[in-house]
Symmetry: C2
Subunit: 151 residues, 2 copies
DNA sequence: TCCCTGTCGATGCAATTGCATCTATATGGA
DNA sequence: TCCATATAGATGCAATTGCATCGACAGGGA
């Protein structure tokens, strides 16, 4: 395969993208930490499980949705379970697996995280770009997504 | 301070931004690993030092440029020095500090990393958006930058 | 000069991560 | 049925990270 050189525009956009997203995430993580709340990774799991409803999700489904390695999810779930935010249920038709479901206090925690997370998004995105610009941005970013990945 | 709720557009743009940038970086890191090359963090340091020229940089200047914690930079520089990619020089007018300079093999390593990194940027950005769209993207992202940060 | 405070950079220790591998179960074919 | 292979999820161990703190020097005021 041939080696290509990126255009100056591509380099500039890349640099901005990487840098800005790191800043935004970092600020949000800092805000969560300052409020004594768990990190965005915890939120992501609670969010997916809340969306999934009573049926819950299998860990491997979670891996597809959030962008984490299998062992990261395994350990993340162990911590969430220890904190009582999720529960693991055996699954009848596959003895290897389990179903993970959010608990009431998991939902409550999700709300508390969102209070801070949502405010951070509003501060850092909503207040700086118009709705139209946000749509343009999302659309451009959408074209960078990996075509081999679901989301 | 009042808690705000983000608009749906802000949430969508945020989700795309975080997800896409993680994907892009991850793919690039994977490509580097597959080539047996060090990570993007190493590249960033080598890049900044190459830009800085013979005068080199103080570690605290590096901290301003790359988005890393002080202790991360301290350890990163220790590893780069062990690999002979940079050298640390005492600085005459400040007994606490040091100046960090890229070595010849550091420059060589930077070139080798760029061969892969640049190709990844071209693949993932240049090939998917026009120059005009890349400019629009960079401009929109620019408006999200933290105003309290230099770059 | 002598403190007091601030900045530079390194580091001990605990927590987290990445890698490789493990156990257990499922699935399909001979 | 039996075996070979594949998949789900957990985990031992080494490497890395984060947090707090440290030691060393700088700079300014009394």
């Amino acid at each position: 395969m041939k080696k290509k050189s990126p255009s100056p525009e591509a380099i500039a956009a890349w640099a901005r993208l990487v840098r800005v997203s790191r800043q935004l995430v970092e600020r949000t993580e800092d805000a969560l930490k300052a409020s004594g709340l768990p990190s965005l990774a915890w939120y992501d799991v609670l969010h997916e499980l809340a969306e999934a409803g009573e049926g819950g999700l299998r860990p491997f489904e979670l891996i597809d949705r959030i962008l984490l390695a299998q062992y990261s999810v395994s350990r993340l779930l162990a911590r969430l379970e220890m904190d009582g935010l999720i529960e693991k249920l055996p699954v009848s038709d596959d003895g290897r697996g389990q179903t993970v479901r959010i608990t009431a206090s998991g939902r409550e925690m999700r709300r508390r995280i969102w209070a801070v997370y949502g405010a951070s998004i509003a501060d850092q995105m909503g207040d700086r770009l118009s709705a139209q610009d946000l749509k343009t941005l999302a659309s451009l970013l959408g074209r960078l997504r990996d075509p081999t990945i679901s989301d």
